[in-house]
């Protein structure tokens, strides 16, 4: 059991290393879509940024972190909207049964075509709890929760800014990733989208910066992104037909390997 715990800790440390540079330091409901507010329900839960559209959404995501089969995240999420109100809920599992964890997430908010704000909450629980251990005796030793918020606003035609604070408050077991405030902005014109993001320093580290570009052609969106600390890049593709979308993204890390994300779902205008 001690070896399993050490392995788990190592996995979490690795994930934390990755998280400092992953897209929006995403975690349990990571999606292969562009940063910022998206129609995907998982993205809403992940960052607290409600989608502009009010249509129903259902999506499933799969993420393999750094090519490690023992670090896979599988998530399903659904969302709905009525007038200004938006809600989403989801479930995810990360890792293997003996050292992974399960998470449920919920998000709610209000949104208009030119802005929105949302609240998100995620609760996690270890999948395997050894009988007689401290985790078995105390809930706060085997489970944790975090609450955060996000907001976005259209500053001008084609120009949008957002702020996401996924972990304003947390309790119990510390989240696998420390996700500080992330601010971002994007500019879209004639099918070309450019974006910049900045994640505030986490602990003693420096701030993370990211940049990317996406090109839309019909129902296809192709994107590339770069991040610093260490410098690395990624690319992805989003294809949609009617309300169905498929998204895939690969991010390469110079030391830790490649992270692959796949998403499939039903939503409105997915980017």
């Amino acid at each position: 059991m001690r070896a399993a715990r050490i392995t788990r800790l190592a996995a979490l440390a690795l994930l934390a290393l990755m998280g400092s540079g992953a897209r929006a330091a995403s975690q349990d409901f990571s999606c292969a879509t562009l940063p910022g507010p998206a129609a995907s329900a998982g993205a809403f839960i992940e960052g607290g940024l409600p989608p502009p559209g009010a249509g129903p959404a259902l999506d499933a995501s799969y993420t393999r972190w750094f090519g490690l089969p023992e670090l896979e995240t599988r998530a399903v999420a659904c969302g709905a909207g009525w007038r200004l109100a938006r809600v989403a809920a989801g479930f995810s599992q990360t890792g293997e049964p003996d050292l992974g964890w399960s998470a449920v997430g919920f998000a709610c908010g209000v949104a208009r075509p030119d802005g929105g704000a949302g609240l998100r909450a995620v609760a996690r629980r270890d999948r395997a709890v050894e009988p007689g251990s401290a985790a078995a005796a105390r809930l706060e030793a085997r489970a944790g929760a975090e609450v955060g918020w996000g907001a976005w606003l259209q500053a001008a035609r084609g120009l949008r800014f957002w702020a996401a604070v996924p972990q304003s408050w947390s309790a119990g077991v510390a989240p696998p990733l420390d996700r500080p405030l992330e601010c971002g902005g994007e500019f879209e014109r004639d099918g070309l989208t450019l974006w910049l993001t900045r994640a505030a320093p986490s602990g003693g580290a420096e701030a993370d910066h990211g940049a990317g570009a996406a090109l839309r052609s019909g129902s296809l969106v192709a994107w590339v992104a770069v991040r610093d600390r260490p410098l690395r890049g990624g690319l992805g593709l989003v294809a949609s037909a009617r309300r169905l979308f498929v998204a895939a993204g690969v991010e390469s890390h110079p030391e830790l390997g490649e992270t692959v994300r796949l998403s499939l779902g039903l939503a409105g205008a997915v980017r």
Binding site: V110, G115, L153, A155, P180, L181, C183, A200
Partner: protein, 491 residues
């Protein structure tokens, strides 16, 4: 460009004004050159850029006044006015989770002849009262005293060497500061004759001031026989003051402001002896010598403000500052602002000397129907271009408007402050503004809710500090505030 060249020439002429040479002790020539360059650059910017409006809550780097201890929270009363015939009641409580709460109560009223306020609460730094009424053909009052005479050489000095006027002294200031406690009497329109008796800086003082046309003469004395006098002249936008004491020590300050269309140039020169310290506010005496310039450009699209200042408290202790702020307005609520600031030496009369500091900040604000979002980032470094950062702050603020005057505001900031430095985060409560001192590395989320209730308005705030996963401690315990305010007509 003609206007720019003219502005630059005026700035350069003011820098070369008599008295400024005395400021330029050996080793200060480089500072002067930088200030001159900053002024010229600012003037060129005015020519190239357009016009704007400075948001009243533009902050830059917020700091408490010099009489307050560094690194401690500072609270100051907001100077919102009360309509005639109105009475305001307020009840409040605040504290940390797991600690004993602090309760506050306040009453304010304003009638035709009688006005005043009373605040009480254990540990409330703003506790106390003041009352004023009409008497003897004038107005008489008892309680808090925060007067301002002339340029403030004796009473009501600005908190910072580069500030033209105190924000918490005198009538019309946006905050009600506390220089002392006592009684005052004012006769005539605008205070042609003014007397006061009170306790300032652990000293009982008696003083009086008379004004005749543009001239004003005032004197202050304490029980030990110390006395100071002030002679001032104020006409239009020009204001000058000469202050001296019985030992012959003196200080003089001249402030001028000229407007040409949307462009305003303000200049301030102070000279004198370091030995003259205000009897009433010795910790706010400020530098003995100062040269300050400010250029403002107000235009429909935004606002530009440039400042340059040199000062010296005493030989070997002085400083300089240059700052530039440009704010571009997009619509009624949206704006983008960027600012730059460089400091040398120290702006405090005692304590450590921070030395060189250079920093910049940027802020974006936008709003849609019922929703507002603001993002801000600032960095201050000990080397050029903000390198070797001594403090870095990133903040996001969300505001949602609800029905019947209700609303929600969430502010989150992430900060990193180097050991020995202080950072003050601004909190606005219903009756006060708090500069919350923080240090080290951390985050803070502040949630504020306002709603109508019990015939008044209820404001609640919850502040969650700390980092996810951090161990619980006194500093990471949530802090909360509850406040209820009701205004009514007394007749």
């Amino acid at each position: 460009m003609t206007r720019a060249a003219s502005s630059a020439a005026r700035a350069a002429a003011l820098l070369r004004a008599p008295g400024s040479a005395a400021l330029l002790a050996p080793g200060r020539a480089a500072l002067c050159a930088r200030a001159l360059v900053a002024a010229v650059l600012a003037a060129l910017l005015f020519a190239a850029a357009a016009r704007a409006q400075l948001a009243p809550d533009s902050t830059g780097y917020a700091e408490p006044p010099p009489e307050e201890p560094e690194g401690a929270d500072y609270e100051v009363e907001s100077a919102d006015s009360l309509a005639e015939g109105a009475i305001e009641l307020g009840l409040g409580a605040s504290g940390r989770v797991g600690a004993r709460p602090r309760q506050t109560r306040r009453v304010r009223f304003n009638d035709r002849t009688l006005g005043g306020s009373v605040r009480e609460g254990e540990g409330d730094p703003l506790a106390g009262g003041s009352i004023e009424t009409g008497a003897l053909a004038g107005r008489v009052g008892v309680g808090r005293l925060a007067p301002r005479w002339g340029r403030g050489l004796l009473l009501g000095a600005a908190a910072e060497p580069w500030s033209a006027a105190a924000s918490d002294r005198g009538a019309g200031a946006p905050f009600r500061g506390r220089a002392g406690r006592g009684a005052w009497y004012r006769l005539g329109e605008g205070g042609a004759l003014e007397t006061l008796y009170g306790r300032f800086a652990k000293r009982d003082l008696t003083g009086g001031r008379a004004r005749a046309g543009p001239f004003g003469f005032g004197a202050l004395a304490d029980r030990a026989g110390h006395a100071q006098a002030s002679l001032s002249f104020c006409r239009g936008r020009a204001e000058h003051e000469l202050a001296l004491d019985r030992a012959g020590r003196w200080r003089a300050e001249a402030a001028l402001e000229r407007t040409a269309g949307p462009l305003t140039l303000a200049a301030r020169v102070r000279g004198g002896l370091a030995g003259l310290r205000s009897l009433a506010e010795p910790l706010r005496s400020g530098p003995a010598r100062t040269l300050a310039l400010e250029l403002r450009d107000d235009a429909p699209w935004g606002h530009v403000r440039a400042q340059a200042a040199l000062w010296r408290f005493a030989p070997g202790r002085g400083g300089a500052r240059a700052a530039l702020e440009v704010r571009r307005r997009f619509d009624q609520h949206g704006s983008l602002a960027v600012g730059f600031e460089e400091r040398h030496g120290t702006h405090r009369e005692s304590g450590r000397v921070p030395g060189f500091r250079q920093g910049a900040w940027g802020e974006w604000r936008g709003a849609a129907a019922g929703l507002a979002l603001a993002l801000r980032h600032e960095v201050l470094g000990a080397e050029r271009l903000g390198r070797t950062a001594v403090r870095t702050v990133t903040a996001a603020r969300l505001e949602l408007e609800g029905p019947a005057g209700s609303g929600l505001r969430i502010t989150h900031c992430v900060y990193r402050v180097r050991s020995g430095e202080s950072l003050y985060l601004i909190e606005t409560a219903s009756d006060r503004v708090i500069l919350r001192a923080v240090s080290g590395t951390g985050r803070r989320t502040r949630v504020e809710v306002r709603a109508p209730g019990a015939g008044g308005h209820l404001n609640a705030a919850l502040e969650v500090p700390g980092v996810a996963g951090a161990r619980s401690s006194e500093a990471t315990r949530p802090r909360w505030t509850l406040d209820w305010t009701r205004r009514a007509r007394s007749r």
